[in-house]
Chain length 241, copies 2
DNA sequence: TCGATGCTTCGACCCGTGTCGAAGCGTGCG
DNA sequence: CGCACGCTTCGACACGGGTCGAAGCATCGA
């Protein structure tokens, strides 16, 4: 009678803790988030969060991807999300605590520097544009490969790809964006390209923040080269959270 | 950031205890059982069971009916059964269970009641047959749509589809089968259809288990209407493991 | 090479909760 | 009435697991 093959209680146990439940719901959109952010979401310290995440990982509810010194966690699949959504259909409701982002946080989410290359929604859009135009292709081991057409285009805007010295991890790396959860362009090529955009006056770095501002000239250029429009970019994905 | 409407952890907490999980799965066929029997299923004393049952009751997962000096508990609804079945699909697979399933477990995997509709390998096969014959088509939002031909066929076997009242989640739902990992037919239509199969003497529900047995007459009918053969079904997907 | 950062591991504390014995309460049956 | 039965409530106990401080490890930037 009591022989249930998959241990249903064990699976429920993983969700039963409030800290873990918050982390899981934070990942419900299917995108990846670093351990630190999940710890903040759950309102616990990094140690505690780490303990929870390892349990969820062992239980097969999460997968993890290491990016530099960050570890990005995401749901193991849509079947996990399905269970979480269904679980929400029972159980008592609670007042919605929805906190708008601060003005600064919004700017960071929109465009910023990730170490020394362009990130945020603009950074991801640029990386997507470079791929759509066939200038970059995603390769294995989290690398981008510069195509022939790409090398010509970079030269055209004033960046000689052959002259950029590859780093330890290659020339053009796929870097996971922590607000957009998609990849943007990193590595030496990403750095040089970001520098170039600064030089050309397309973008401007804030003085004491990682925020980046796109100039009117920059928007014109982004539209011309990648079809990126400011209006659309500002509206899309406006999940205030 | 930390916005989850229903307290998902509280719901999961109720399932997370092994004794409670056993009780819930024992009620998964939708029928009512007295507290004592549930205590026996879970292998705990009456006091302990009573404590668990009151928690489940307060959590809205069970309902209770008093009859004489017995108290009969049953699942609060099919949405609870849905969660339990789905939860089983993400349970941590037990370490290399080379061991064959018990006889009871095999029967459950082959044919059983999921709350109040047909599930297991037979349930999935029937749902597939209904789709192959063009009687049902998979629609969005996990729904099945009954085609014109389907309505005629159901009428032919004695089920007037138009007379079946849709529930909150529609008339015919796709329910994920936790052993087969495919969809079987749920929702009001699934319930009525299962009842019909019982009435026609094609299937027979076990007395104290969720198992379902297909009668010889049932096999004849399944072969005639859907081309389902007992031999093939018993062998196929023999992931006994 | 050194410090800062992000994350994990280790160790210790302590609250929550599952458990059962004993008692209480209602029902059914002689 | 008195007793048996089914179930719940109360109280006490013990164990598991969530929590955080401190330390360890890897990566990145200077």
């Amino acid at each position: 009678m009591m022989n249930q093959q998959p241990n249903i209680a064990a699976a429920a146990f993983l969700i039963a803790d409030s800290a873990r439940a918050v982390m899981l719901t934070a990942l419900l959109d299917g995108r990846a988030r670093p351990a630190g952010e999940l710890a903040y979401c759950a309102g616990v310290t990094a140690q505690t969060a780490s303990s929870h995440l390892s349990k969820l990982l062992a239980g097969g509810m999460l997968t993890v991807e290491t990016e530099g010194r960050h570890r990005y966690y995401r749901l193991a699949g849509s079947h996990v999300a399905l269970v979480l959504e269904n679980l929400a259909s029972i159980g008592p409701r609670e007042p919605v605590r929805r906190r708008a982002l601060t003005h600064d946080a919004q700017k960071l989410q929109f465009a910023r520097c990730c170490y020394d290359h362009l990130a945020g929604r603009v950074g991801v859009a640029v990386a997507c544009g470079l791929q759509e135009r066939g200038f970059l292709v995603a390769a294995s081991d989290k690398q981008f490969e510069v195509t022939q057409a790409g090398a010509e285009w970079f030269a055209c805007v004033g960046l000689e790809v052959a002259a950029v010295k590859p780093g330890r991890r290659g020339l053009a790396r796929q870097c996971l964006d922590w607000t957009e959860r998609q990849y943007h362009l990193a590595g030496p090529l990403g750095v040089r390209f970001t520098d170039l955009l600064c030089t050309k006056g397309w973008i401007r770095r804030a003085k004491s923040s990682r925020a980046v501002e796109v100039t009117p000239m920059g928007w014109t250029g982004l539209k011309k080269h990648f079809g990126i429009e400011e209006q659309i970019l500002r509206v899309s994905g406006d999940h205030t959270v």
